[in-house]
């Protein structure tokens, strides 16, 4: 059997086990099959699904960005896409109830505001990348966008009442919990749309393996490729950020490990592996957070930053 097939079997198996563990284990152990405590079961199941979706979205988004910009350090958090989506969320949290009276609409507005934020950030990145050849400076642009976002958010915090600041802070630490069924449905729907665009862009990215000049001579429609990636990454990052908060570095760690596991130029295999390993990783973090209520961002940063340091030093 080929290495890739084995990996698929192994990781699918791990995903199933981890899903079971996510519901079974936590501060109070329950038996999934006896359905003793449906409230906890319900809560943990939703939490696990949220983690699963995040595990699909962020690594795929990071993977596409890295292939497009040909830079292993590109990722939704590093390039400022997460924080731009975050700015969109902050605007709704801080200013939302003043403008929108009907509360039920708020989550849709939240989603679209986050998507708009990440979309605008991607457009800025595209415009800058045309004029810039230096990859390392490009990463700095990402940090600048992040910094701009957080400065703006600080300003909003400064002028806002404390209950809203608290609401924002809880969101900004990142959490899998607290998603209603309806929110999960929206999350699933958008993730699905984002992944479809990702699928479209992979074949085009394959032709872009040798750079844009060769891509043209292989008949790749570069504009189409960029639009697909723009839509895919901004939807995937935006929707995850809107519901779970800004989750850092997953978009870099997972693609990095996938490239170590199988041939980096096999993009279809990379995409599938990214999804599977991403889900495994996020479910693990979810299980940890079943025991200790640590915000996701703290856990991902503790694991992510050493990996990024390693990538930089290896270069």
């Amino acid at each position: 059997m080929k290495k890739f097939t084995i990996l698929i079997y192994v990781f699918t198996f791990i995903v199933i086990i981890l899903l079971y563990f996510s519901v079974q284990f936590g501060n109070s152990v329950i038996d999934v099959f006896k359905n003793e405590n449906s409230v906890i079961l319900h809560y943990r199941f939703y939490k696990a699904i949220a983690a699963l979706l995040a595990g699909c979205c962020l690594p795929v988004s990071g993977f596409l960005l890295q292939e497009l910009f040909k830079n292993p350090l590109a990722g939704p958090s590093v390039l400022g896409i997460s924080s731009s989506a975050g700015l969109g969320v902050a605007l709704v949290i801080f200013l939302g109830s003043n403008i929108f009276i009907i509360e039920e609409f708020n989550q849709w507005i939240l989603v679209f505001s986050a998507l708009l934020g990440s979309f605008l950030c991607m457009i800025i990145l595209f415009m800058i990348s045309k004029k810039m050849n230096d990859k390392n400076s490009f990463i700095i642009i990402g940090f600048l966008i992040s910094a701009f976002g957080s400065a703006f958010i600080s300003f909003l915090e400064y002028i806002s009442p404390s209950d809203k600041i608290k609401q924002y802070l809880v969101w900004s630490l990142g959490s899998f919990s607290g998603l209603s069924g309806e929110k999960l449905l929206i999350f699933t729907l958008f993730s699905f749309i984002g992944l479809i665009f990702a699928l479209f862009s992979v074949q085009l990215l394959k032709g872009n393996l040798l750079g844009e000049n060769y891509a043209k001579s292989l008949g790749v429609n570069l504009n189409k490729m960029k639009i697909y990636i723009l839509l895919s990454t901004s939807i995937l990052t935006g929707i995850t950020t809107a519901f779970l908060g800004p989750i850092a570095f997953i978009g870099i760690i997972i693609p990095f490990f996938c490239r170590k596991l199988i041939n980096p130029s096999k993009l279809w295999k990379q995409l599938i592996l990214n999804i599977l390993i991403g889900i495994c990783f996020m479910l693990c973090i979810n299980i940890i957070s079943n025991y200790i209520m640590l915000p996701i961002n703290i856990l991902t940063s503790i694991i992510g930053i050493p990996v990024i340091l390693f990538i930089i030093l290896k270069k």
């Binding site: 032709g207 393996l209 040798l210 000049n213 001579s217 292989l218 008949g219 429609n221 041939n263 130029s265």
Partner: protein, 327 residues
């Protein structure tokens, strides 16, 4: 049959670089594009590849205007090898070569037997079967060039365009690549268009030349264009001139030579004479058939005859030193 034809073409960016370009190549031609740095060779190639829009005129492939082809269709007609191939992705040699099949594949299609045969053939042509599993980033310049040419061959297009395929290569690799061109043109009837600065080497295989000079392009058979445009003079400058005796460019002597000698071969090798004449020239000693000083090359030494006295030298260094002292 004319496969590629340029008619009244005007190309450039904001300012036109080349004007009134009228040129063509036939199927199976090997055509070299010569010209100094910045003369517009790469711009011309990019215009043919539709990377830069043309300003005026027509580019026709098999009598069909190139504008009517989209990139997808063009990728099945022209394949290209650019001059600087910097790889930013980790990709092994086989996969890179196989990428040449990309234009023919839908996303769900895998490489079939016909593809594999084409790939193997290209690998054979370029002699890269021993490096298939290496990472393309770690190849030497010569091997990388061969790998990219193999990729273009796999694309299986009637026209191949290469931007400076011979630069950065040692002489041996230059000849390997020129041999690949020759075989492709003879066996597969492919049309090859390439730019070069190694004009001496490239003219030996090309049968057609597009020569660019002062915003004008002249096209025709290599030798005709060479004579018409006086290429040898055009490539000479204040530092270099063409020496028909040595059959290559040599530096022009800076000071007037004070001495002249006559070299006579008795039983030395041709190679000895070649290096001896080079050394003499380098040291400002001219060759003159009527000179009174004669150097006779023997198998393992050199004899200098001057005023009927013979001096023998073991190597060229001693000989040159002697001549210099006695100036």
């Amino acid at each position: 049959m004319k496969i590629l034809e340029l008619q009244d073409l005007l190309i450039g960016y904001k300012k036109p670089i080349l004007q009134e370009v009228n040129a063509s190549v036939n199927q199976g031609d090997i055509c070299v594009i010569l010209g100094r740095n910045g003369s517009g060779k790469s711009t011309l190639i990019k215009t043919i590849l539709k990377s830069i829009p043309k300003i005026k005129g027509n580019i026709k492939i098999n009598n069909v205007e190139i504008e009517s082809f989209n990139f997808e269709l063009l990728s099945q007609i022209i394949s290209v090898v650019y001059s600087q191939n910097i790889l930013e992705n980790e990709v092994n040699v086989y996969n890179l070569v196989a990428l040449g099949r990309y234009p023919y594949k839908k996303w769900y299609e895998k490489l079939n037997k016909k593809d594999s045969l084409l790939i193997e053939k290209a690998i054979d042509y370029c002699g890269i079967s021993s490096i298939l599993n290496l990472n393309a980033n770690e190849l030497s310049d010569g091997n990388r060039q061969k790998v990219f040419i193999a990729r273009a061959i796999v694309q299986n297009t009637p026209i191949l365009i290469l931007d400076e395929p011979l630069s950065y290569l040692d002489v041996e690799n230059q000849f390997v690549i020129m041999k690949i061109f020759e075989e492709l043109s003879k066996n597969e009837n492919k049309t090859i268009l390439f730019t070069s600065h190694e004009w001496d080497q490239s003219l030996t295989i090309a049968n057609k030349m597009w020569y660019i000079n002062e915003n004008q392009l002249t096209s025709g058979m290599v030798e005709d264009v060479a004579i018409e445009k006086n290429i040898i003079n055009a490539f000479s400058n204040e530092h270099f001139e063409f020496n028909f005796y040595l059959n290559k460019f040599v530096p022009i002597l800076k000071q007037k030579s004070v001495k002249s000698v006559c070299v006579i071969c008795s039983d030395g090798k041709d190679e000895q004479i070649y290096w001896l004449t080079r050394a003499l020239r380098k040291n400002n000693i001219l060759l003159d058939e009527n000179s009174e000083i004669q150097i006779i090359t023997k198998e393992k030494h050199y004899v200098l005859k001057e005023n009927s006295s013979d001096v023998s030298f073991k190597n060229i260094e001693d000989l040159i030193n002697y001549l210099k002292i006695n100036e």
